[in-house]
Amino acid sequence: MNMVEKILARASGRRSVEPGDVVIAEVDLLIMHDLSGYLTSRVFDQQVGGQVRYPERVAMVFDHHFSPPTEDAAAMLEANREWARRTGTHLLDCGNGNIHHAVVQRGLVRPGGIVVGSDSHTPVHGALGALAVALGNDSHAGTVLPYGKAWFRVPETVRVELVGTPQPGTTARDVALWLVGRIGEGGLIYAAVEFTGPYVKELGFWDRWLFPLLCVDLGAKCSFVEPDEVTEEFVAGLPPGAPDRYERGDGGDESTVLRFDVGEVVPQVACPPTVGNLADVPDVAGRPVQWAELGGHAGGRLEDFRAAAAVLRGRRVHPDVRFNLVPSSRVVFTQALQEGLVLALHEAGATWFPPSTGSNQAYNMGAMAAGEAMISTHARNFPGRNGSPDASMYLAAAPTVAASAVTGTITDARGLR
């Protein structure tokens, strides 16, 4: 069995499972953000009722709002707080960061466990060696909250092996975007995707993070990087310290293998209307942008702010561009302060926002008028997600975002003079 199968077998009390089996398994962590938490808690209260079986295994994170703009939003958050207090679940209130980054930094995600959540990017926690799957509100309200369990169909596993060395100036984010283009949106529906190969093994934890993150765009159920010393060192540095278990595959299983040489990858931009609509930066360079943002599930990492500071050294944000910086967690904001990045980027003309998920879905910020365009590290670019359906969202790596903020048009950071 591989890692996913082992976790599902253990959690469902079976000796073994096979792809296609439907099992009911015990869940270690349910994560919900301010919106899904609201909808789920309402379904739970109205249609299910009773006690939350394991409140310590449930976390609500307010990340779409860092400071609610309307009375309605405030009422929603207050209803969530009241629910969290009443049921005894974890509450990470406004300003704690993006949901996925915040629960990792808080030490709530443990390797070898099962993580579920409404947010479609929940599979990202496969980066820590957890089985992480996005479920719907009715699974959460109907079985996870009252019983601590959920149903799962055991997925087939596809192994994606990345070899080679990318071109200079090409980041892990570029490779991840490029892969969505190569494999295609919905290319691996229902599969578990294992990322492996020398390229992945060489990456630091927060760069590996970007790969399980993209699996939703491939249509996959979950994704993981088999835990190794990089994982162990990272997890040991989180609040509760080293975990008591890791699950690892036995090897020798017969997965489909897709092998890619990342040596040909150059900086990428995902253009509207979908994440799979990729272009090499030089092919779309020159398109005007009025907004740039580092933030969201895929951005707001320390790595992103360092990259932006390197691009902006001796330069300024273009007068026609608003450059938003949204740390993914309080930990990252503090580190950025200590490294002097907060001041350096502020003085270069960028604006810092509280740790949150930033402009994702434009709840607290990031609405655009018809005809406006943003380039960002976000994970989604569907029209209408950021204000007007006639506004454009481009997705890219931090250096490309920063370089575009300098020039006011989509720009290849490698050629910035």
Binding site: A11, S12, G13, R14, V22, V23, I24, A25, E26, L35, S36, Y38, L39, V43, Q47, V48, D72, M76, S118, D119, S120, A134, L135, G136, N137, D138, S139, A141, G142, T143, P146, Y147, K149, W151, R153, E185, G186, I189, Y190, V216, D217, G219, A220, K221, T274, G276, Q361, A362, Y363, R380, F382, P383, G384, R385, P389
Partner: protein, 169 residues
Amino acid sequence: MRARGRCWTFGDNIPTDRLVKTKYVVEPMEVIVQHVLEDLNPRFPVEVAAGDVVVAGKHFGQSSGRAIAVKALRATGIGCVVAETFARTFYRNAFEVGLPVLELPGVTDLVSDGDVLSVDVAAGLFRNETTGVQREVPPADAFLLDMLEAGGLIALAKARPELFADQVR
């Protein structure tokens, strides 16, 4: 689990964001239902009738796993969604909230907008009554069909708590 009605066609990779726009997510269902898929076909929320069939391309319902998008589609009264492939969160949510769905590769070549279709999800049967074309696919897992039959996951868990409560399955 049977539907018969007018065919409404949509393309590939339709995200849940376009089924229900973010700004409507917390509105009451009576409001949401008036805006389902409006960006892609403004006539749809106005003219859709009970039993109608939505036919889509690949990876239908990608993006946010919001069950509200599926609930809104169900609330329009449609009888079934048939797609080449579904995004898995959408597929899962559909069974959990009791909206019949059928995965049928090649379906987009079998229909035109406005055709009359009949679908039997439990049997895996699809028929275009306008053209007479018929297809059959293996039905979904029995557990999923049980869920659909019960009216969704919450109803199933209420009817059969032993599935979740006591020993693991």
